[in-house]
Amino acid sequence: MRQPTAAEPADRVAVLAALDGADPGARRTAARACRAFPDSIEIIAGRLAVETDPRVLEVLVLNLVAVGGPAAAAALAPLLRSDDAGRRFAAAEALKDLGPDALPFFDVLIRDPDPQVRILAAEIARGHAGGAAAQTIERLLAEETEVNVCCAFVDVLADIGTADTPPALRALKARMPGNAFLTFSVDAALAQLPPD
């Protein structure tokens, strides 16, 4: 974590100290305040890696989304590999909320060798209805072998898919006929999507 230096203004020193303090309430207030700093992404990303309180985590993520831009997306992307469930899902949600700035990271993460990263990466696409992200997931669905990843893709496609999506879902159902949850998910998604 970045430490304040003697040359920094007193309020900034106080905010950075509070961000590392023991009181979650003070950390939450500091998390809001540090958005005003020019190096806010660096500060927030550093705190995001170690923060344990879900309420503070939420403020940090919201601030990163508010700052926006590719640098914010770059700070969030590695957190999809975090051992902490709250941190990795918060990162996925924030990347979803970042919009187009997150799409270059989505394109890489959705092809990650780790199926858990692919599952979370699918969440990023939820903010991009009917666009290239849906087409990417449809293409990858044709080759995906992990059933849980397939189910995550289906769940997201149910939200962002188009009239072009049902053939990809039917092909998946035919390719993996023995899984009850996958069959249930595909049928529910088909009922939700516009007909092809």
Partner: protein
């Protein structure tokens, strides 16, 4: 035997389950698997909503996911175990996470049983029945 000595047989009250998962498809799948088994199923979208519901209504079992927005499943179980009124509620965790350290973290949090997704309808009904005491009644 006189009629007065006969103990009327009453059906056991239905067991109440709280399913906590951010994926609507998962909640719907669990509901359609459990309700035919006589369970009453309630739903929550994340750990925060789950805690609120668990504090208001008496449940016999919580079925909870790990990766969820606002409050993840592990944090939910930690909070549950710290809350006197609901600390003893049995918890069945279902997740796509299948590494030993994920399962160890769930156990450390206070999860009673951990099943890796996808969970079959038969397994869900069986373990829900065992954990609520519905099996054998």
């Amino acid at each position: 035997m006189s009629e007065g000595n006969v103990t009327p047989i009453r059906p056991a009250p239905a067991k109440r389950l709280l399913v906590i998962d951010d994926a609507a498809l998962v909640r719907a799948y669990y509901r359609q698997a459990l309700e035919p088994g006589g369970f009453l199923v309630d739903e929550a979208f994340n750990g925060i909503e789950g805690l609120e519901k668990a504090l208001i209504s008496p449940y016999d079992l919580v079925v909870v996911d790990v990766n969820m927005p606002k409050m993840d499943g592990l944090t939910f179980v930690h909070r549950l175990r710290e809350t006197k009124e609901i600390a003893c509620l049995p918890v069945l965790m279902t997740s796509t996470l299948d590494r030993d350290r994920d399962i160890a973290a769930a156990r450390a949090a206070g999860v009673n049983l951990y099943l890796v997704k996808p969970v079959s309808e038969d397994d869900l009904r069986l373990f829900a029945g065992i954990m609520t005491g519905a099996v054998g009644e």
